[in-house]
């Protein structure tokens, strides 16, 4: 019974670590899109001043 309890508590931690790596890649991708679009619009504005 004790072994079962230990396994149950360990598994979710490993799963969380993996999913967070995917999340930071996704967040980084979204951040890159936002930055590129913002810089592009800013560049167009400055070109027309």
């Amino acid at each position: 019974m004790e072994t079962t309890k230990t396994l149950k508590t360990e598994k979710p931690e490993k799963y969380d670590e993996k999913s967070l790596k995917g999340t930071i890649v996704s967040v980084g991708f979204v951040a890159a899109v936002i930055v590129v679009m913002w810089v592009a619009v800013f560049w167009i504005y400055m070109e027309r001043v």
């Binding site: 670590e17 967070l20 999340t23 930071i24 967040v27 951040a31 027309r48 001043v49």
Partner: protein, 154 residues
């Protein structure tokens, strides 16, 4: 591990917002490149009796600096034909006699909302000669699509 990654993406997210706000703030307050303002008001029913709108047109106010006093109404611009020299700084002072109109010159940064009761100001330097299209970009009525004019830059 989890907290470290969360810290990284939260720092990046907040950092991006802060950098954007610093650049926009510097542009607006230090370089004077803020959006057009309409802090001055006017009685829309007496527009043609109140200066400078009692004499709309293009006026040279300094060397290589012009003021265009313009009244917008359904469905036209007064004056309708504007001519300014290349490289001159042009200050547009506008108001509306009736409903909300738009004043946009595609391909430039000129884009202002002109509302009745408010005086709208926007400045621009035309660096290239040519005929610049001016359009109303706020739906103002049944003839909205015909509300346009040109600015001639020589």
């Amino acid at each position: 591990m989890q907290h470290r990654l969360e810290e990284i993406w939260m720092t990046i997210s907040v950092g991006i917002l802060v950098v954007f706000m610093i650049i926009i703030g510097y542009q607006t307050f230090a370089l004077g490149m803020g959006p057009p303002s309409h802090s001055e008001t006017i009685d829309p029913q007496k527009v043609e009796q109140i200066a400078p709108f009692d004499d709309p047109g293009v006026k040279e106010i300094a060397e290589n600096e012009y003021e265009v006093v313009m009244i917008l109404q359904s469905f036209g611009f007064n004056p309708s034909n504007i001519e300014v020299p290349v490289g001159a700084e042009v200050h547009f002072t506008m108001t509306s006699k009736d409903v909300t109109h738009g004043f946009q010159v595609p391909g430039t940064n000129i884009n202002a909302m002109v509302m009745p009761g408010h005086i709208q100001k926007i400045s621009h330097t035309f660096k290239e000669p040519g005929n610049y299209l001016v359009i109303c970009n706020e739906y103002c009525g049944i003839g909205h699509q015909a509300m346009s004019t040109t600015i001639t830059v020589k």
